[in-house]
């Protein structure tokens, strides 16, 4: 695996208009190609905002955010979309789109003015359908899919973008256990191929089991950055999430796990 630096963040801050406090404050970090990073923190800690900044949807108010050696805001939107795919768990449309329609949208950054899909585009779309476990389902209407299938369609769309970086906002939020594992395994396989995966997650235990690096955000600040064992400990989790927890080590994987005592 190459250790090419994908992201270089230095003192990155961002505020929404009219908000009293910044959503992201002074975040600094380096990200190397093929890393798999879980972004954890309480609601409102700035996870989605940070993902938006990394994806180039918003510009940092302060600090530098370089993507592949160039400020992310200087990338043309089309070029950027060929390199960075972003997904959120919702997939809804006012119109009856098929799975193929949705996944083919992943080719938008590569299409010409009139939007004709080339043979190569069509091949990539079917490859992405296959990779996301949706082979043979391309003609199904999105409205008839289960939540798990929907999320795989969104993942397939991101794969059709052929990105260097995959940014995911709560990719397993609405999924049952089997689909959660399925999704996380697919993400691990992508990371092994050199795709950088950064995902905002609520499930600290799954984050600790599947990701090699954890970013812990609290009130917009990066208060923890490192392997799960160094970031997730009882006092830190208690302080950031305002709950009493006990942290123990999974004897099989040696990863920290969090239990919440019901009292």
């Amino acid at each position: 695996m190459s250790d090419e630096i994908v992201y270089r963040l230095h003192g990155v801050s961002f505020s929404y208009p009219d908000a009293p406090v910044p959503a992201v404050t002074e975040v600094s970090a380096h990200v190397v190609a093929g890393e798999m990073i879980a972004l954890i923190g309480p609601n409102g800690a700035g996870k989605s905002t940070l993902l938006g900044l990394l994806g180039g949807l918003a510009k940092p108010a302060k600090g530098q955010l370089e993507f592949l050696g160039r400020p992310v805001s200087q990338w043309l939107s089309r070029e950027r979309a060929q390199a960075i795919a972003m997904i959120r768990p919702e997939l809804d449309s006012a119109f009856p789109l098929t799975v193929f329609d949705v996944v083919a949208l992943g080719r938008v950054p590569y299409l010409g003015r009139w939007g004709r899909l080339t043979h190569e585009d069509v091949r990539v779309v079917f490859e992405a359908l296959e990779a996301a476990g949706l082979a043979g389902m391309e003609s199904r209407l999105v409205a008839t899919l289960s939540q798990g299938e929907r999320q795989r369609a969104v993942l397939a769309r991101a794969l059709a973008q052929k990105p260097r970086v995959l940014l995911l906002d709560e990719p397993i939020a609405h999924l049952d256990l089997a689909y959660q594992l399925d999704t996380l395994r697919r993400l691990s396989a992508l990371a092994a191929e050199g795709v950088t995966v950064i995902a905002a997650l609520h499930d600290i235990n799954l984050a600790a089991q599947f990701f090699n690096r954890i970013w812990l955000l609290s009130d917009g600040r990066l208060v923890g950055d490192g392997p799960p064992a160094s970031v997730i400990d009882g006092p830190t989790v208690a302080r950031v999430f305002h709950v009493d927890v006990s942290v123990w080590v999974d004897p099989l994987t040696r990863r920290p796990q969090v239990s919440i005592p019901a009292r």
């Binding site: 208009p17 994806g55 949807l57 939107s77 089309r78 070029e79 950027r80 979309a81 060929q82 960075i84 795919a85 972003m86 959120r88 919702e90 997939l91 809804d92 449309s93 006012a94 119109f95 009856p96 789109l97 098929t98 193929f100 329609d101 949705v102 949208l105 992943g106 938008v108 950054p109 299409l111 003015r113 009139w114 939007g115 004709r116 043979h119 069509v122 091949r123 079917f126 359908l129 082979a135 043979g136 391309e138 003609s139 209407l141 999105v142 409205a143 008839t144 973008q161």
Partner: protein, 358 residues
């Protein structure tokens, strides 16, 4: 059969449907050109057309009554063409607005363009300006100016932090529309002698219009159609939401202004020349979606074709139903469009899968 082969076969089927739609629309136009107070057989229509286009006496053995030539080239053909162009404009603008606003209930009039045009036209008619023409000081020019003014007002009210947002835009459109409609009603009451003239303009129609009006609408349709077709892919991406579209590399703000601007100007041009013709811009995109699916690369041209065919038929009924009197076309489109829209609604609810299916 592999997936890509299925895809290619489906694309070929779509292309065939589009070609068939074009052929049917042209056939309807040819037949409609022949029907009227004096009936001209379709073959004679084609001969006259061929001679007019080529400028030569083609098919010399075919006898043509000279009065047919005058009736067709000066009365029928421009009228049928104008109906087709206005229908195409409304269908295309309707499909674009529904896609842009992500709302199947949207129509080209939602931006306030129509009520602005109505007010402009009412002012002109009350002031005694001629109803037909394109020079400054004719009703279409007033209507177009009114439409642009109303659109500007809606755009101004519908912005949030400098960007267009769907819900404020729709709300601003509804508010401005009802305000301007109230002013139109007030003016009609205050200027009773002109009431009938205003009323007929508001109901829409093509009687008395000629080549000039058709030329004006054709020009706008060419330019705005080109702009909208270039936005077909951004419209597809926008179906998933602004953020998703942006992450797919779409310049959302640019697309919003291009789609809204082009559809509104196109609608304004159509409405100024023909009055307010309802339901075409609402219903036709749904019919087109049933046939070609939701992909705007096909949906936009299909809605244009469908609008053209439907409007020519509606105008034919308007001309024939109560001969020699004419019914305003807007009455026909509402009479047919209303129940048809209810049927679509019923059908979709029964299918239970979004707004229609392929």
């Amino acid at each position: 059969m592999t997936g890509p082969e299925v895809y290619r076969r489906r694309q070929a089927a779509l292309a065939a449907k589009m070609t068939a739609g074009l052929a049917v629309t042209v056939a309807i136009m040819i037949v409609a050109t022949g029907i009227g107070a004096v009936d001209i057989p379709p073959r004679t229509v084609l001969v006259i057309l061929a001679r007019a286009v080529s400028g030569r006496q083609l098919f010399p053995s075919w006898p043509v009554d000279p009065s047919f030539v005058t009736i067709m080239l000066q009365l029928r053909l421009p009228r049928v063409l104008l109906a087709a162009l206005v229908g195409a404009s409304l269908g295309l603008a309707g499909a674009a607005m529904q896609g842009f606003l992500r709302n199947p209930m949207a129509d080209p009039y939602i931006t306030g363009v129509s009520s602005g045009a109505a007010l402009g036209a009412t002012i002109a008619i009350v002031a005694g300006v001629p109803v037909i023409g394109w020079w400054s000081g004719s009703v279409p020019v007033f209507a177009f100016a009114g439409a642009v003014a109303a659109l500007s007002l809606v755009l101004f009210l519908g912005r949030v932090n400098g960007t267009l947002a769907v819900v404020p835009l729709i709300l601003a459109g509804v508010a401005v529309s009802s305000l301007l409609s109230a002013v139109v009603s007030l003016m009609m009451v205050l200027h009773e002698p002109r009431l009938e003239q205003v009323f007929f303009w508001l109901m829409g129609g093509f009687s008395g219009r000629g080549w000039t009006e058709a030329g004006v609408v054709a020009g706008y349709l060419l330019v705005c159609g080109f702009v909208l077709m270039g936005q077909a892919v951004p419209l597809n991406a926008l179906a998933l939401g602004d953020d998703d579209a942006r992450s797919l590399g779409v310049d959302v703000r640019r697309s919003q202004y291009l789609v809204l601007g082009a559809s509104a100007v196109l609608t304004a041009a159509a409405v100024s020349e023909s009055g307010l013709i309802g339901f075409v811009g609402l219903v036709v995109p749904h019919m087109a979606r049933l046939v070609v699916g939701p992909d705007h690369r096909f949906l936009l041209p299909a809605s244009g074709l469908g609008g053209a065919a439907l409007m020519v038929l509606a105008d034919l009924v308007a001309r024939l139903a109560m001969r020699p009197a004419e019914i305003p076309v807007g009455v026909i489109t509402a009479l047919v469009g209303g129940p048809f829209f209810l049927y679509l609604l019923h059908r979709t609810r029964r299918a239970g899968a979004g707004w229609a299916s392929r």
